[in-house]
Structure formats: C-alpha cells, structure tokens
Symmetry: C2
Subunit: 552 residues, 2 copies
C-alpha cells in the first residue's frame, strides 16, 4: 500500500516503504548479469523490474473499454515466429531481416556532455566526450556495450530494443514506483503517436465514445481525436489546472441528449505538469482528487507528461528570481510549484510532484513519457507505462503501424542515457535542464512585469513546463460589446505579427470550439527564443496590446 | 505522353523523350542556389522537381474514395502558424520548440563506405570515410551542409526535412518520372506505417470497404487491414505474380452477397517486384495489364516496392551463376528478370522493370519506397509518391500520429545518400547491393538443386527481392487424403524446427485465411543467414521434407 510522507514541504509522497533506488538498479544489474539481446529479440519490463515492484495487487482489467479495432488485433505472426530462433544452432530462413554485412554504416559517434558539465560550450570544448557505437560491439563479451549497430539498425520488436526497454523500466520505477504489480513500459514514436494509438485502443466511433480534457488543451491532441469520431469535452480549470469538482459535475450530470448523443466519457486526457497551453501544474492533492473522481466514475486516465521534469521553484516577483529556501516551502506547495532548487539527486526526486502513475493503485493510468522536451524532439522516442493488458494492446497496434521508434534513435538515446550517463548522469542532466528553464521562465516573467500593462494583462507564474498563459481583459477594448472575443483575439494576433512577435491564440486550444470562448488568452513559450529575444518579444507583445486597446 | 522504347531486351521503357538525368539534378541544384531551410520549415516536392515534371496532365481526383476519418482532417493549427516565422525579424513565442542550446549532442559522426568500395571490410579499413554532422553546420554560408543537428534534432514538419524531401523527390523523378504533373513525395516512418495511413485514408469500415491483393500476400499488410474492418480478397497468381485476367474476373463478377456484404474493392495492394512471400516479379507487360484493369474498374493502387532495386539477372541453373550477355535477354525478359548485370548507371536504371508509378498517367498509384531493404531497416524512414491531393491527406494524418520519421534518422540518411554519396554514389551502392543479393540468391538456388528432392519440391528462381517460394507436392505425403494441407504444413514446419531450420509457413500469407489453402508452400529468405549457413539450412529443410514424406 502507498504510504504518504509529507516532509519539509517537499513531495516525498506516494513512496512505498521500500522502493528502488539508484544503488538498487546497480545491484539488480550486477545480479542479473550481462544483458544478452540479439537482433529483434523480445523483451518486456518484467525482465527488468526490481523485487519491490512485485507483491502488490494486480491492475484492474479494461477489456470492456477496448475498441472493436483493438480487440480484433492478434499478435504479428512473423514476430511470433522469432521465438524459435532462441533454439541453439537454429538457422533462420524465416524473417526477411537483411544481413548486417550489408548495412553501410561501420560506426556512429557522438560528442556529448560529461556530467555535470552540461552546457553547450562545455560540451563543444575539452570537457565534452566522444562516444562510439560500433557495428558488432555487443558480440564482445568483455565489452561494455549490449546494443550495437548490427542490432539497432536492423528490424526490432515494436516494444523497443531490450537495452532501452531496460533503461525506461528502471527509470520509471525509480521515479514513479507504480503501486500495482503488473505494470509495463513500451517505447513509442513520441507522445503524439502514443496518444493516437491509445485513442484507437480505448475509443470507438461506432460506440459514440467521448473523452474529457482540460477546457483549454493541447491542440494537436484535439486534432488527433476529432477525425477518429471521438467527441472531446472540456472541464473547468483554475491556476492548478483541472478542477476535480468540475470533473465530478460533468460526469455526474452527463446527459447524452444534451451532448449531441455522446456517451458518458470513459477516458480523461490530462497534462498534469506545465499543462499545454495554460502552464498550470496540479498539486499532489489535486492529483489525488482527480484520481478519486476517475475512480468514482470508472474513467481511464491518459497522463501526458512531457514537462514533468521541468518542474521549477516558485517564482519570486520581487526580484525576478526563483525563490530559495526562505519562502519556497509554503509558496511552492500551494500551486504545485517545486519548493527547493534541488541540490542532490534525492532532493531533486523528492521535489517533483508525484505523478498520477505513482498513486495509481487501480492500474487505470496510461502514462506517456517523452524525450522531446528533455533531450531532443527529433529522436521521436518516448515510452508509455500502463498495465500489462493495455501495453499488450499497444504493442500489437504498433506492430502494424510504426513498428516502434527508429533504431538509430534508440541507439543514440541508449548510448547517451544508459551507457554514458547512466541513471545518475541523466538525473543530473534533468536538474541542469530545469535550472535552464527556470532562468528562461524568470526572464519572461520579468519582461512581462516590465513591458505589459498590468491592468490589461494577468498571468499565473508557471511552476513547470515551457508555457506562460496570458489573460487579457476584453472589457477594456475600445469596442467592447460590439466585437466578439474571437475578433479581438484575431486583431491582437495580427497586430503582434505586424510588430514582429508570434504568440499563439487561446482559441486554438479550446476543447469545445463550438462553445463560446471563456476568455481572451494567448499562449507564449519561453523555450524557443534566445533570452534576449524573449524580452524583446514581450515588449512587442505589450506594444500590440496597447495599440489594440487604444493605449498607444 | 509516355514513349515506350524497348531496346536490346532491356526495360528502357516508360521514358518520356526528355527526362531528368543525374547531370540535370546537378544543374537544377546549381541554378536554384543554396537550400535554406531552418527548423521546422515547410517544404514540398514542387520546390525540387525538374522542368520536365511539368506540362503533363494533372492527376485524377480521389475524394470520392476518402474515408470519413480522412475527410475530417484539417491542417495542424500549430504547424500552420509556423508560416509567420518567415517574416524577417519575427521572434517566436509561438511553438513549443526547445532551444537547440539545450540539446546535449554536439556532433554526430558516421564511418561509411567511399564509393565504389562498398564492402564491410573496405568500410572498416582505410577506404572508409568518417563524416560528421555538427550542431550548427547549416548556419555556415560557405559550408556544404544545409541540414544540421540544431534542425534535425528539433521538431520538424511531418512531410520530412526539406533536404531529404529534395533528395527523395529527385531520386523518384530520376527513376520513375511520373507521367502526370502534380505528383509529390512525403517521408514515412517506413512502409508498414505508410500502408496503415493509406488504408485509413482510402478505406472506411462503416462503408464496408474492401481491398484486393495477391492470393499470397505480406502477412503484416493483412494484419494491418483486418483490425480496421477492411476485408481483404486475394487474386490468383502465376510465376509473374498477380494475373490481370484473374483481377478483371474478380472485379467484373463482384457480388457483395457472395462476399459477406463487402463492397466491390476500390483499392489494390500489390508488391510488383520480388513479391512477399512468393518472390514473383511482374514484367512490364504484366504491370501495364494490371494498370489497365485498375483503370477499367477505377481501382486505386498501393504499389509497395521495398525490393525494387534488388532486381537481379536471370538465374542460370546449369552453373549456379547469373546469366551473362549470352542468353539473359530473352530469358530474363519473360519472367520480369533483369537482363544484364549492369555495368554503368544508365544500364542499371534501364535494366529495372519500370514501376507502376512510371506508367501512372491517371495519378492512381500511391507508391511506397523504403530504405529498409537497401540501406538499414532501423532508420524507419521511407517515402511515398502520389498525387498532391493524396499526399496532402497523408501529411495531415502524419501530423496527428507519428509526426514523420525520426530527425536523427533523417540526418543520418541525408548525410549518407545526399551530402556524401550523392545520387550517383547511391545508385552505385544499389548496384553493389543487388550483386550481393544475386550471389545470395544463387547460393540458395544451388543449395536447393543439391539438397531438395526435385520430385517433391519445385520453385521459380526469383528475379528480385529476398524470398524463394518453395512448393511441395502434398499428394506424395504418406497419409495424403487423410490429413489436411494445413496439417502437413504444420508437420513439416515443426520437423524443420527440430532439425534446426526456421522457414515460414505459406498459410501465414493467405489473403483469405477462411478459404481452403491452394497448395503447400514455404517461404524462405536468402537475406538473413550467412551464405554458408544458407546451404546448411536448405540441407536441413531437405532432410525435413524427406522425413515428413517418408523418404528418409
């Protein structure tokens, strides 16, 4: 059972009395011996979980939610046949896997940071390190490498290559320690693709299925659901994101007739940390309440967490810098912000608001993790964690669509985060990265304080992620009442363009575009532009607001 | 219009009087100037086609075939907003693209062959070359590179990165010169994923849609269609694959009632070269006839061509080696086999049986190309070519599922096939590769002649691809009549396993598994095992056949 320890204002929560540690991963690997995983060999998380992962209740079953499409999927017959290859001496005339002698790449090298010297300049200079993946590294029994070009550049299993499945399993257990026994991980081609697969598994057009999400939600997620015939409905938000009471109300009072015939939603799609587009972060208490409402209505949860590790200390507006120890405890806790700039890995892990997965006693959460925001988006590698039953559906689907992520990407990611950095180095990288994002966030917030008319524009300092959500008061528009919110939004958008700043219109994120816009919002990001450009861009945005609102 | 030139028994066919050449690509690039394509910038094939590609009729329209799902897809709103970034001086607070300063990879290097020294040993030794992709190469206006880590490791457009879209467009025009004007290419995550997207675009469960394919077809393709509720029906084959007369019969006599309510098929899925599993290759005449039948019944064509460049000279059983000039002309031509071992690039290109795309005056072909069989499967990069209308549907779909292939894979492929090898070096690589596969094919055929009982087992020497399809005479089984074909197949499969050889059961490839099996077949591949193991494996297969048929 889950034991919650709230100490020193940090989120050392949802921690089982005994759980996997960094040392524990090392010990488990030493005991298991060298990982032997040849071309296209099958693996699953059960091969890599710690003893602590067992002895818990099993996940609930979800077959009653699965779509006609998903239920019709059998395992891939050719990938099944690969099991016979384990027999000693077997020669395969079976699968059409090209011989690696015909792969025209002899080695692949990367120059990467040596922890803790993570900056671009340090990596480019003498502190960087060159690492190389050879074609047949894994055949060397004395070598470090268990994954090489001959394996990674060939066909693989859709679940992912065993060495990377091992790493994501260990990382997931270290951070989330799911409180049920039969959880598993599978690699994805990124969370956009993972969401599409999940929607096709859990929702069925012919059944009139619908899902819930935040009132303002990630536009690509909405665009993914709609062509599948899945209706999306929004749930009210506050500064901490999704409001559990609103969620309960929507579900308790569901009337298909009033909802265009849509069935009562069976799935919630949520981004709990640094939500896109609002930047809101759910506190632990909020997450518990959301989970409870989902239990009450038997709603399955898609937890999309690309920004999870970009949780930041609370912002102190008086100096434009992040809070230190002085007042971060209470301040940070209330709106889900991280209390302390972490100093040690343990402090870093404890400072993170626990995930929905970490409180998921039912196995009703499919968590999506991504390397896009914390390593590189171009890898198109992420992973999901869910119960074995769900992951099995997911893998069968992947076998007939993307076949799992690029093997080249898997090689690069594995070499970096496992063989070179290890779990500890990777966590140190994440600590570095959130310091970078904290500085960027502080830059945009300071610029907003300096350049935006505070009587017109308001915001909640984000506690995670990449986005700052600006609310503008439409009542002060010169033609308020005579023009619609959408018209003011459009006017402001194009005035911004004319002044040389691109900001994203709030209306593009409406979960229900056919309902009236509930306010005038713009999403800005502090991830992309250089820090000097961020200030210039906010100045332009402020000038645009003044012009549109007749203040210039 | 298409002018067909049949000369010297080669397939210099479907060639327009003037078409793009290797020199023409160089000239076009020189005239166009340096390609400038920053992070996530949009591109399409129209930017890269030669003047010869225009002045032809436009493709027919296919909206009447599109599914409810595909018709509901709008463009991705966030990717649309990127168009404003072209304005000089624009600062983006728009898309959540991470700043490349936070990408922990400073450079990526590869060791690759220097044409024409393509063997593994040559590449590993001093003849290999080391090539490097830096983080900001493309910012150097005097540099060669137009694609670097800062671009390729960030988010990109689903159509693919501009430099690789350029390369596949040029390559496709060089080889196929589609005979209509508004064709385009888009990158894919491989042909399995491309097929899934194409099926979801063209077929609709709710409409009772069905497709046709070869009587024995790629099992993963069948497994992709069935969960989508798309019925698949098989068309009779001979040594050249799909038989046009059978195709016409099936379509002309379609009776939904006799077909379980399935609508008359609107799509043909075919693998014209080195078909999986039978290894059959359609001759040019055969392709023309198939195309004509599809025109007659207004059937759209998915042309899946992973093995296209693995077309081989005809096999000469007398010496176990490929034919030379002496009798290859007529021999090779009849069954679609390549006539001559190509010596020059021009001869190589002319020796390839023209694709369906190259005779596609209507724009009714969606061709799928793949790097899996000719570079590495693990890149998970391929591309499609079709009319603009269809490619547009495809890209919109990709935006909401895989977001296009891995940027790391795109970087590696572009660096290799464009910047390092160029089109000429890549074609020389393909020429090398088909020599390798020819030798492997000759090895398995020689082993079959040596080890298989010819009165029990028969085969057609493949003219392309990776597969040899073995037919076994069930009438000679000791319990013929008392046991089913499937039982004999299973008995033989497990006898093979016991003897240490994995071959693939023919029944796994049936387009219609609920209809009686039309013969006893096994698919073998000569791609995977080492050449010495191929002979040993065939010997084991022969022993298994003898045992099952009471000859041992």
């Amino acid at each position: 059972m889950v034991v919650v320890v709230e100490q020193n204002g940090t989120h050392a929560a949802a921690i089982t009395p005994k759980r996997l540690t960094l040392d524990g991963i090392g010990a488990r690997r030493a005991k298991a011996g060298r990982l032997v995983a040849s071309t296209a060999s099958y693996s699953d998380s059960d091969m890599f979980k710690s003893p602590y992962a067992y002895g818990k209740p099993k996940a609930k079953r979800w077959e009653h939610l699965f779509s006609q499409e998903s239920l019709a999927r059998g395992p891939c017959v050719l990938k099944q046949a690969a099991k016979y290859l384990k027999q000693p001496g077997m020669i395969s005339l079976g699968g059409g896997l090209p011989a690696p002698e015909n792969f025209p790449i002899d080695s692949l090298s990367l120059r990467v940071p040596t922890p803790p010297y993570f900056t671009e300049a340090e990596t480019h200079g003498p502190l960087g390190q060159d690492i190389t993946i050879g074609k047949y590294d894994a055949r060397n029994p004395d070598g470090e490498s268990v994954f090489d070009l001959s394996i990674g550049m060939n066909y693989g299993q859709s679940v992912g290559a065993a060495p990377l499945v091992r790493w994501v399993t260990e990382h997931t257990e270290l951070v989330n320690a799911p409180p049920y026994s039969d959880w598993r991980c599978a690699l994805t081609v990124g969370s956009t693709g993972a969401l599409e697969q999940a929607l096709r598994i859990f929702c069925d057009r012919a059944r009139g299925d619908s899902i819930l999400t935040e009132e303002f939600s990630f536009s690509t997620a909405l665009e993914t659901a709609l062509p599948l015939g899945i209706r999306v409905f929004g749930v009210g938000m506050d500064g901490e994101g999704l409001v559990p009471e609103r969620l309960d109300e929507v579900l308790s009072n569901w009337d298909p007739a009033a909802r265009g015939g849509a069935r009562k939603p069976t799935v919630l799609y949520t981004v709990p940390s640094g939500q896109n587009p609002t930047g809101a972060t759910q506190s632990l208490q909020r997450r518990r309440e959301v989970y409870k409402v989902c239990q009450k209505h038997d709603v399955y949860i898609f937890e999309d967490e690309p920004y999870y590790y970009l949780q930041m200390p609370a912002y102190n507006s008086s100096n434009g810098h992040a809070n230190g120890h002085t007042n971060g405890h209470t301040n940070g806790h209330a709106n889900g912000a991280v209390a302390l700039p972490a100093e040690t890995i343990e402090e870093f892990l404890e400072s993170l608001v626990p995930s929905l997965l970490s409180i998921d006693t039912d196995g009703r959460v499919l968590r999506m993790d991504s390397f896009s925001k914390v390593v590189v988006p171009g890898s198109r590698v992420g992973w999901i964690t869910a119960s074995e039953e769900v992951v099995d559906r997911f893998i069968r689907h992947a076998e007939c669509c993307n076949q799992g992520p690029s093997g080249i990407s898997q090689l690069v990611m594995h070499k970096l985060v496992d063989e070179t950095w290890g779990h500890e180095g990777y966590l140190r990288w994440l600590m570095h990265l959130r310091r970078e994002y904290t500085r960027r966030r502080d830059t945009i917030l300071a610029a907003c304080e300096k350049y935006l008319p505070r009587d017109l524009v308001s915001w909640v300092p984000p506690a995670a992620g990449m986005f700052l959500w600006l609310q503008i008061d439409p009542a002060q528009h010169p033609r308020a009442g005579a023009v619609s919110l959408l018209e003011i939004e459009e006017q402001l958008f194009f005035t911004c363009i004319a002044k040389g700043v691109l900001a994203t219109r709030g209306s593009w994120f409406r979960a229900e575009p056919d309902r009236p816009l509930s306010g005038l919002f713009f999403r800005t990001t502090f991830a992309a532009a250089s820090e000097s450009n961020i200030a210039a861009a906010v100045e332009r945005f402020g000038a645009a607001v003044r012009e549109v609102f007749g203040r210039s």
